[in-house]
Protein backbone atom coordinates (compact mmCIF):
# COMPACT_ATOMS: atom_id res chain seq x y z
CA UNK A 1 0.00 0.00 0.00
CA UNK A 2 1.54 3.29 -1.02
CA UNK A 3 2.25 5.83 1.70
CA UNK A 4 -0.18 8.26 0.15
CA UNK A 5 -3.03 5.80 0.22
CA UNK A 6 -2.17 4.93 3.77
CA UNK A 7 -2.32 8.56 4.76
CA UNK A 8 -5.66 8.95 3.01
CA UNK A 9 -7.09 6.01 4.91
CA UNK A 10 -5.80 7.46 8.13
CA UNK A 11 -7.48 10.75 7.45
CA UNK A 12 -10.72 9.01 6.66
CA UNK A 13 -10.68 7.09 9.89
CA UNK A 14 -9.83 10.21 11.83
CA UNK A 15 -12.73 12.04 10.22
CA UNK A 16 -15.11 9.24 11.13
CA UNK A 17 -14.11 9.39 14.76
CA UNK A 18 -14.25 13.15 14.83
CA UNK A 19 -17.88 13.08 13.83
CA UNK A 20 -18.66 10.44 16.40
CA UNK A 21 -17.01 12.36 19.23
CA UNK A 22 -18.78 12.41 22.56
CA UNK A 23 -18.31 14.30 25.80
CA UNK A 24 -15.76 12.74 28.15
CA UNK A 25 -17.34 10.21 30.40
CA UNK A 26 -15.04 9.93 33.36
CA UNK A 27 -16.88 8.89 36.48
CA UNK A 28 -20.24 7.32 36.95
CA UNK A 29 -23.25 9.59 36.67
CA UNK A 30 -25.45 9.77 39.68
CA UNK A 31 -28.12 7.54 38.31
CA UNK A 32 -30.63 6.29 40.73
CA UNK A 33 -29.89 8.69 43.55
CA UNK A 34 -32.97 10.30 44.98
CA UNK A 35 -33.71 13.46 43.10
CA UNK A 36 -33.48 16.57 45.16
CA UNK A 37 -36.66 18.52 45.12
CA UNK A 38 -35.70 22.03 44.20
CA UNK A 39 -36.09 24.23 47.23
CA UNK A 40 -38.17 27.43 47.24
CA UNK A 41 -35.09 29.55 46.84
CA UNK A 42 -34.05 28.07 43.52
CA UNK A 43 -36.86 29.45 41.49
CA UNK A 44 -36.69 32.71 43.39
CA UNK A 45 -33.03 33.12 42.60
CA UNK A 46 -32.77 31.54 39.17
CA UNK A 47 -36.16 32.31 37.70
CA UNK A 48 -38.21 29.84 35.69
CA UNK A 49 -36.40 27.13 33.74
CA UNK A 50 -35.33 28.18 30.26
CA UNK A 51 -36.24 24.92 28.58
CA UNK A 52 -38.34 21.77 28.88
CA UNK A 53 -37.52 19.05 31.42
CA UNK A 54 -34.63 16.80 30.42
CA UNK A 55 -34.31 13.06 30.94
CA UNK A 56 -32.27 10.01 30.05
CA UNK A 57 -28.83 10.10 28.49
CA UNK A 58 -28.90 13.79 27.83
CA UNK A 59 -29.64 14.44 31.48
CA UNK A 60 -26.66 12.37 32.57
CA UNK A 61 -24.39 13.85 29.95
CA UNK A 62 -25.26 17.46 30.67
CA UNK A 63 -25.23 17.19 34.43
CA UNK A 64 -21.92 15.37 34.24
CA UNK A 65 -20.35 18.00 31.98
CA UNK A 66 -21.60 20.79 34.23
CA UNK A 67 -20.35 19.04 37.35
CA UNK A 68 -16.88 18.93 35.87
CA UNK A 69 -16.94 22.71 35.63
CA UNK A 70 -18.12 23.47 39.15
CA UNK A 71 -15.57 23.73 41.95
CA UNK A 72 -16.10 21.80 45.14
CA UNK A 73 -16.37 24.53 47.81
CA UNK A 74 -14.62 22.58 50.53
CA UNK A 75 -11.87 20.97 48.46
CA UNK A 76 -8.70 22.10 46.77
CA UNK A 77 -9.57 22.85 43.19
CA UNK A 78 -11.52 19.67 42.49
CA UNK A 79 -14.68 19.56 40.45
CA UNK A 80 -17.79 18.39 42.27
CA UNK A 81 -17.97 15.55 39.76
CA UNK A 82 -14.84 13.98 41.21
CA UNK A 83 -14.95 15.08 44.83
CA UNK A 84 -15.97 12.71 47.61
CA UNK A 85 -16.98 15.54 49.96
CA UNK A 86 -20.57 15.63 51.12
CA UNK A 87 -21.08 19.21 49.98
CA UNK A 88 -19.86 18.21 46.55
CA UNK A 89 -22.31 15.36 46.35
CA UNK A 90 -25.17 17.60 47.44
CA UNK A 91 -24.22 20.12 44.79
CA UNK A 92 -23.93 17.41 42.16
CA UNK A 93 -27.48 16.33 42.94
CA UNK A 94 -28.71 19.90 42.92
CA UNK A 95 -27.11 20.47 39.52
CA UNK A 96 -28.68 17.29 38.21
CA UNK A 97 -32.07 18.28 39.56
CA UNK A 98 -31.82 21.66 37.92
CA UNK A 99 -30.81 20.14 34.59
CA UNK A 100 -33.71 17.73 34.87
CA UNK A 101 -36.10 20.62 35.51
CA UNK A 102 -34.99 22.24 32.29
CA UNK A 103 -32.64 24.97 33.49
CA UNK A 104 -29.93 25.97 31.02
CA UNK A 105 -26.22 25.77 31.78
CA UNK A 106 -26.00 29.53 32.09
CA UNK A 107 -28.90 29.65 34.53
CA UNK A 108 -27.35 26.96 36.69
CA UNK A 109 -24.00 28.73 36.73
CA UNK A 110 -25.74 32.00 37.52
CA UNK A 111 -27.60 30.37 40.42
CA UNK A 112 -24.41 28.97 41.91
CA UNK A 113 -22.46 32.15 41.34
CA UNK A 114 -25.25 34.05 43.03
CA UNK A 115 -24.45 32.37 46.32
CA UNK A 116 -20.80 31.34 45.97
CA UNK A 117 -19.38 33.97 43.70
CA UNK A 118 -17.42 33.52 40.50
CA UNK A 119 -14.94 31.42 42.46
CA UNK A 120 -17.21 28.41 42.20
CA UNK A 121 -16.55 28.05 38.49
CA UNK A 122 -13.47 25.99 37.76
CA UNK A 123 -12.84 27.94 34.62
CA UNK A 124 -13.51 31.67 34.66
CA UNK A 125 -16.43 32.99 32.66
CA UNK A 126 -15.01 33.59 29.19
CA UNK A 127 -15.76 37.28 28.97
CA UNK A 128 -14.04 40.56 29.57
CA UNK A 129 -10.76 40.41 31.44
CA UNK A 130 -11.00 36.66 31.86
CA UNK A 131 -10.34 36.17 28.18
CA UNK A 132 -6.72 37.04 28.91
CA UNK A 133 -6.14 33.58 30.35
CA UNK A 134 -6.72 32.04 26.96
CA UNK A 135 -5.53 34.90 24.80
CA UNK A 136 -2.09 35.32 26.36
CA UNK A 137 -0.86 31.75 25.81
CA UNK A 138 -2.38 31.72 22.34
CA UNK A 139 -0.61 34.98 21.60
CA UNK A 140 2.61 33.35 22.79
CA UNK A 141 1.95 30.50 20.37
CA UNK A 142 1.33 32.83 17.44
CA UNK A 143 4.29 35.05 18.20
CA UNK A 144 6.52 32.04 18.78
CA UNK A 145 5.43 30.43 15.52
CA UNK A 146 6.09 33.73 13.76
CA UNK A 147 9.58 33.89 15.21
CA UNK A 148 10.25 30.33 14.09
CA UNK A 149 9.08 31.04 10.56
CA UNK A 150 11.23 34.16 10.45
CA UNK A 151 14.26 32.25 11.73
CA UNK A 152 13.91 29.54 9.12
CA UNK A 153 13.25 32.10 6.44
CA UNK A 154 16.37 34.20 6.77
CA UNK A 155 18.96 32.15 4.95
CA UNK A 156 21.31 34.45 3.06
CA UNK A 157 22.56 36.79 5.75
CA UNK A 158 23.09 33.90 8.14
CA UNK A 159 25.18 32.01 5.65
CA UNK A 160 27.43 34.99 5.02
CA UNK A 161 27.72 35.59 8.75
CA UNK A 162 28.59 31.99 9.35
CA UNK A 163 31.22 32.05 6.63
CA UNK A 164 32.73 35.15 8.20
CA UNK A 165 32.66 33.59 11.62
CA UNK A 166 34.47 30.53 10.38
CA UNK A 167 37.16 32.74 8.88
CA UNK A 168 37.79 34.86 11.93
CA UNK A 169 36.27 32.67 14.60
CA UNK A 170 37.56 33.00 18.13
CA UNK A 171 39.25 29.79 19.30
CA UNK A 172 36.95 26.96 20.32
CA UNK A 173 36.96 25.51 23.79
CA UNK A 174 39.78 23.05 23.29
CA UNK A 175 41.44 22.72 19.94
CA UNK A 176 40.69 19.19 18.90
CA UNK A 177 37.38 18.77 20.69
CA UNK A 178 35.01 19.63 17.83
CA UNK A 179 36.82 17.29 15.45
CA UNK A 180 36.85 14.41 17.87
CA UNK A 181 33.21 15.11 18.51
CA UNK A 182 32.33 15.02 14.86
CA UNK A 183 34.29 11.88 14.21
CA UNK A 184 32.71 10.17 17.16
CA UNK A 185 29.29 11.22 16.05
CA UNK A 186 29.83 9.79 12.65
CA UNK A 187 31.17 6.62 14.17
CA UNK A 188 28.05 6.34 16.27
CA UNK A 189 26.15 6.40 13.04
CA UNK A 190 23.60 8.98 14.03
CA UNK A 191 24.46 11.72 11.54
Amino acid sequence: MSPRALLAVTFLLVAVYATAAQAQRRGEPIRGEAELALGPDVEAAAGPPAGPPVTGDELERRSWALSMEVRCPVCQGQPIAESPAESARHMKRQVRAMVAAGYSDEQIFAYLENSYGEFIRLSPRPEGMNLLVWVLPLAALVIGAGVVVWLVGRKQPARARAAGAVAVAPPEDTGLAPWIERARREAEGDG
Binding site: L36, G39, P40, D41, V42, A44, A45, P73, V74, A85, E86, S87, H90, M91, R93, Q94, L112, E113, N114, S115, Y116, G117, F119, I120, R161, G164, A165, A167, V168, P170
Partner: protein, 189 residues
Protein backbone atom coordinates in the same frame (compact mmCIF):
# COMPACT_ATOMS: atom_id res chain seq x y z
CA UNK B 1 31.32 42.67 9.70
CA UNK B 2 31.91 39.74 11.94
CA UNK B 3 30.92 39.51 15.56
CA UNK B 4 34.41 39.94 16.89
CA UNK B 5 35.04 42.95 14.66
CA UNK B 6 31.87 44.66 15.73
CA UNK B 7 32.59 43.86 19.34
CA UNK B 8 36.02 45.38 19.16
CA UNK B 9 34.63 48.42 17.45
CA UNK B 10 32.04 48.81 20.15
CA UNK B 11 34.64 48.24 22.81
CA UNK B 12 36.86 50.81 21.18
CA UNK B 13 34.03 53.30 21.33
CA UNK B 14 33.75 52.51 25.03
CA UNK B 15 30.15 51.34 24.96
CA UNK B 16 29.06 47.74 25.47
CA UNK B 17 26.68 46.24 22.96
CA UNK B 18 23.25 45.67 24.32
CA UNK B 19 20.53 43.62 22.77
CA UNK B 20 17.55 45.90 23.26
CA UNK B 21 14.98 43.29 22.21
CA UNK B 22 16.20 40.88 24.88
CA UNK B 23 16.18 43.59 27.52
CA UNK B 24 12.77 44.96 26.64
CA UNK B 25 11.01 41.64 26.15
CA UNK B 26 12.59 40.23 29.28
CA UNK B 27 11.52 43.17 31.39
CA UNK B 28 8.02 43.24 29.92
CA UNK B 29 7.49 39.65 30.96
CA UNK B 30 9.23 39.71 34.28
CA UNK B 31 8.47 43.03 35.93
CA UNK B 32 4.65 42.72 35.84
CA UNK B 33 4.97 39.19 37.18
CA UNK B 34 7.04 40.28 40.17
CA UNK B 35 4.77 43.22 40.88
CA UNK B 36 1.74 40.96 40.68
CA UNK B 37 3.25 38.44 43.08
CA UNK B 38 4.10 41.23 45.48
CA UNK B 39 0.49 42.40 45.33
CA UNK B 40 -0.52 38.89 46.25
CA UNK B 41 0.62 39.43 49.83
CA UNK B 42 -2.31 41.73 50.39
CA UNK B 43 -4.87 39.00 49.86
CA UNK B 44 -5.85 35.92 51.76
CA UNK B 45 -6.38 33.20 49.16
CA UNK B 46 -8.87 31.43 51.41
CA UNK B 47 -11.09 34.39 52.08
CA UNK B 48 -13.80 34.42 49.45
CA UNK B 49 -16.18 37.31 49.88
CA UNK B 50 -19.84 36.53 49.70
CA UNK B 51 -21.85 37.86 46.77
CA UNK B 52 -24.99 37.71 48.91
CA UNK B 53 -24.21 40.79 50.95
CA UNK B 54 -27.06 43.28 50.67
CA UNK B 55 -29.18 40.74 48.85
CA UNK B 56 -32.32 39.07 50.14
CA UNK B 57 -31.54 36.01 52.23
CA UNK B 58 -32.51 32.80 50.42
CA UNK B 59 -35.47 31.07 51.94
CA UNK B 60 -35.29 27.59 53.39
CA UNK B 61 -37.67 25.05 54.86
CA UNK B 62 -35.80 22.70 57.18
CA UNK B 63 -36.63 20.28 59.98
CA UNK B 64 -35.23 20.82 63.45
CA UNK B 65 -32.74 18.30 64.75
CA UNK B 66 -35.27 17.11 67.33
CA UNK B 67 -37.55 16.40 64.41
CA UNK B 68 -40.59 18.11 65.85
CA UNK B 69 -41.18 20.96 63.48
CA UNK B 70 -40.19 22.76 60.32
CA UNK B 71 -38.71 26.22 60.32
CA UNK B 72 -38.67 28.57 57.37
CA UNK B 73 -36.84 31.82 57.00
CA UNK B 74 -40.05 33.57 56.08
CA UNK B 75 -41.38 32.81 59.55
CA UNK B 76 -38.43 34.67 61.07
CA UNK B 77 -38.94 37.95 59.27
CA UNK B 78 -39.61 41.04 61.29
CA UNK B 79 -36.62 40.61 63.52
CA UNK B 80 -32.89 40.43 62.79
CA UNK B 81 -31.70 36.84 62.41
CA UNK B 82 -28.34 35.25 63.05
CA UNK B 83 -27.85 32.12 60.93
CA UNK B 84 -24.94 29.97 62.06
CA UNK B 85 -23.73 27.11 59.86
CA UNK B 86 -21.78 24.59 61.91
CA UNK B 87 -20.85 20.93 62.25
CA UNK B 88 -19.69 18.60 64.99
CA UNK B 89 -16.31 17.87 63.47
CA UNK B 90 -15.13 21.48 63.46
CA UNK B 91 -13.11 22.78 66.37
CA UNK B 92 -13.97 26.50 66.07
CA UNK B 93 -17.65 25.54 66.03
CA UNK B 94 -17.12 23.91 69.40
CA UNK B 95 -15.53 27.10 70.66
CA UNK B 96 -18.28 29.43 69.56
CA UNK B 97 -21.33 27.36 70.42
CA UNK B 98 -21.54 28.15 74.17
CA UNK B 99 -21.18 31.82 73.29
CA UNK B 100 -24.10 31.57 70.84
CA UNK B 101 -26.30 29.94 73.46
CA UNK B 102 -25.51 32.72 75.90
CA UNK B 103 -26.10 35.38 73.26
CA UNK B 104 -29.46 33.88 72.34
CA UNK B 105 -30.48 34.08 75.97
CA UNK B 106 -29.15 37.63 76.30
CA UNK B 107 -30.95 38.98 73.25
CA UNK B 108 -34.11 37.09 74.09
CA UNK B 109 -36.93 37.98 71.73
CA UNK B 110 -35.20 40.81 69.96
CA UNK B 111 -33.04 38.63 67.69
CA UNK B 112 -33.63 35.25 66.07
CA UNK B 113 -30.87 32.70 66.33
CA UNK B 114 -30.83 29.71 63.99
CA UNK B 115 -28.25 26.99 63.65
CA UNK B 116 -27.98 24.98 60.44
CA UNK B 117 -26.05 21.73 60.41
CA UNK B 118 -23.49 21.31 57.64
CA UNK B 119 -22.29 17.90 56.41
CA UNK B 120 -23.29 15.96 59.49
CA UNK B 121 -25.79 13.47 60.89
CA UNK B 122 -28.74 14.03 63.19
CA UNK B 123 -27.50 11.61 65.84
CA UNK B 124 -24.07 13.15 66.05
CA UNK B 125 -25.47 16.67 66.26
CA UNK B 126 -27.83 15.80 69.11
CA UNK B 127 -24.97 14.28 71.09
CA UNK B 128 -22.76 17.25 70.38
CA UNK B 129 -25.36 19.81 71.37
CA UNK B 130 -25.82 18.12 74.70
CA UNK B 131 -22.09 18.16 75.29
CA UNK B 132 -21.32 21.69 74.23
CA UNK B 133 -23.72 24.08 75.76
CA UNK B 134 -27.17 22.69 75.20
CA UNK B 135 -30.00 24.01 73.12
CA UNK B 136 -31.14 27.59 73.22
CA UNK B 137 -32.43 28.14 69.72
CA UNK B 138 -33.67 26.05 66.78
CA UNK B 139 -31.01 23.89 65.19
CA UNK B 140 -32.00 22.74 61.72
CA UNK B 141 -30.74 19.77 59.73
CA UNK B 142 -29.97 20.61 56.10
CA UNK B 143 -30.88 17.35 54.41
CA UNK B 144 -29.30 17.21 50.97
CA UNK B 145 -27.59 20.53 51.55
CA UNK B 146 -29.93 22.99 49.75
CA UNK B 147 -29.49 25.68 52.39
CA UNK B 148 -25.70 25.43 52.35
CA UNK B 149 -25.77 25.72 48.58
CA UNK B 150 -28.20 28.61 48.62
CA UNK B 151 -26.06 30.53 51.10
CA UNK B 152 -22.79 29.65 49.40
CA UNK B 153 -21.15 28.05 52.41
CA UNK B 154 -17.44 27.39 51.84
CA UNK B 155 -16.69 25.88 55.21
CA UNK B 156 -17.66 25.99 58.84
CA UNK B 157 -18.33 27.90 60.89
CA UNK B 158 -19.91 30.65 58.85
CA UNK B 159 -22.41 33.06 60.33
CA UNK B 160 -24.81 35.22 58.37
CA UNK B 161 -26.41 38.36 59.77
CA UNK B 162 -29.84 39.03 58.27
CA UNK B 163 -31.73 42.20 59.09
CA UNK B 164 -35.41 42.55 59.94
CA UNK B 165 -36.39 42.94 56.30
CA UNK B 166 -34.67 39.73 55.30
CA UNK B 167 -31.57 41.20 53.66
CA UNK B 168 -28.16 39.68 54.37
CA UNK B 169 -25.98 42.43 55.79
CA UNK B 170 -22.78 40.58 56.60
CA UNK B 171 -21.05 37.22 56.83
CA UNK B 172 -18.45 36.22 59.38
CA UNK B 173 -16.17 33.24 58.83
CA UNK B 174 -14.49 31.37 61.61
CA UNK B 175 -15.27 31.18 65.29
CA UNK B 176 -17.50 34.05 66.36
CA UNK B 177 -16.72 36.10 69.43
CA UNK B 178 -19.31 37.94 71.45
CA UNK B 179 -17.74 41.24 70.54
CA UNK B 180 -18.05 40.58 66.82
CA UNK B 181 -21.60 39.37 67.26
CA UNK B 182 -22.51 42.52 69.14
CA UNK B 183 -20.97 44.86 66.63
CA UNK B 184 -22.59 43.10 63.66
CA UNK B 185 -26.00 43.28 65.30
CA UNK B 186 -25.57 46.92 66.18
CA UNK B 187 -24.55 47.70 62.61
CA UNK B 188 -27.86 46.30 61.48
CA UNK B 189 -30.01 48.60 63.61
Amino acid sequence: MTVSESQSRAAAQGRPRVSWPVLVIGLIIVVPLIVLLAQGFKYDPRDISSPLIDKPAPDFALQTVDGDREVTLASLKGKPTVINFFSTWCLPCEQEHPMLIAAARAYGDRVNFVGIVFEDTRAKVNQWLDRHGGRGYPVLIDVGGPAAIAYGVYGVPETYFVDARGVIRSKVKGALTFGTLQSQLEAMQ
